[in-house]
Symmetry: C2
Subunit: 281 residues, 2 copies
């Protein structure tokens, strides 16, 4: 598997780079961005945080707006930000160009329905293909954590709950916690997975959390802004928090007063998330 | 003078806001962004850093990409990021839509030539109208510093050198140091100021610095990346550094190895600039 360097910028003594590669999972050219901390320059394997972005984002939003590099450089932690969907000629999109389906809205599932199934295989891409590719090309260790925002928070939680052996910890900002029961999730899951709601449940964190055995309960941190416009209708963290309580799963769910859904919120608390993940590597 | 709130986001305990207002200087609606640190919530006047952005930027680039808020919040420093040109219907632009003239490229001068003179009065806007507006609407003190990037570095240096009594310190990332002798500056100055090169010299920092009396020499910090694609042809910091040496003006000029012209570079060193300015408030 080869990768093509698109851009490279020194930042906080490390390097931010963008790459593209032909993906077997999504059958198109995929782009990702990676931050390698200064420690990686000595070919010492460094731990890696997967960051899954939200609706409309590409590999660029987190890298440009989250302000994560100072602490990542201090800790010696790499970060990868994949794209949020397949892209390019022939890749299906919402017929009306809606922001919440198709391009920029892969929802981290493997689609089974036409016209989506051919390229929208983001679950396999994130869980299997991308890790193998990164471990081939970069000095990273087997220590992995996963985090994300909004749709990417759903991605991080659901992928971690389905693969607890692969990650040492998981965190999210403003995650979609119950996609089977909110407009964004229902629209995407109906399109990508069809009408069988049993298939939807395989990607709903508020249900997946109940399948974890106590020894599979990863350390989990969630930050949610109290002034987030999407909180009540789309995000529904209370379902996940209630499920965790019933399971005695000690999640750290924090409501941050006055914060909204934007990267200004993420930037304000990303340091806590990096230090949280670093503790469990 | 009234201002209209466009957006508001809590960040690092303070607030980032975007406003628009009808400008007397530029005869159009101008947009600016401001960060007010938590300390301002108590109506304690806080010092203010003016940040002037580079070519193609709006009020948004610095606020989204520089990662300045954590330290600004710690220090209790407000930051304002004005737009880089007038905009809107009837505002002249480069006939070919070039990025280095017209919209997004006001060069912080008052244009005297048609078709630019009517709206391109960015010098007056930054030096006079905006400060008066901000001091009317926000709890800010009379303590002002000024900084900028590239074209905005030229703006910060030239404005500070022309008005040393107004600012307590000045800094720049990758500034255009000799606009009378580089393609960007020559193109813009010829269009905005006409062919009389004496008018150009009134905005050339490598010349303006020589007019300062010793007691007018503001504390000055410049960061320049060694891998900046624009360094040799457009930025020419050596002319400014040489002039400072001849004057025994103790400027702090730092070459940062391996860094480029991007906001990744700015983010890596903005903390130093904020602490530098804070020292002189």
């Amino acid at each position: 598997m080869t990768i093509k360097l698109l851009a490279s910028n020194k930042v906080f003594g490390g390097v931010h780079q963008r790459y593209s590669h032909q993906s077997e999972s999504t059958q198109c050219e995929m782009t990702f961005a990676v931050y390698m901390p200064p420690q990686a320059a000595e070919d010492t394997p460094v731990p890696l945080l997967y960051w899954l972005s939200g609706l409309t984002c590409s590999d660029e939003n987190f890298m440009q707006k989250a302000g994560a590099f100072k602490v990542a450089a201090e800790l010696g932690m790499a970060i990868v930000a994949p794209d949020t969907s397949p892209r390019g000629e022939g890749v299906a999109d919402d017929p009306k160009g809606a922001y919440d389906l198709g391009l920029g809205a892969g929802f981290y599932v493997n689609a089974s329905q036409a016209p989506w199934a051919k390229h929208y295989q983001m679950y396999s891409y994130i869980c299997e293909e991308l890790p193998a590719l990164l471990e081939q090309h970069f000095p990273i260790s087997q220590q992995r954590a996963i985090a994300g925002h909004s749709m990417g928070g759903h991605g991080a939680l659901s992928i971690a709950f389905k693969n607890p052996q692969r990650y040492s910890s998981v965190s999210a900002f403003s995650p979609i916690c119950q996609p089977t029961n909110c407009p964004w999730g229902q629209k995407a899951f109906a399109a990508y997975l069809g009408n069988d709601q049993l298939r939807w449940q395989e990607h709903d964190s508020s249900l997946l959390i109940k399948q974890l055995k106590p020894e599979q309960q990863l350390p989990l941190l969630i930050d949610q802004g109290s002034d987030d416009n999407f909180l009540a209708e789309q995000l529904k963290p209370e379902t996940l928090v209630d499920a965790a309580k019933q399971l005695d799963y000690p999640i750290n769910f924090r409501v941050q007063q006055g914060y909204d859904h934007s990267y200004f919120f993420i930037a304000s608390f990303i340091e806590d998330h990096l230090r949280f993940h670093f503790k469990y590597f």
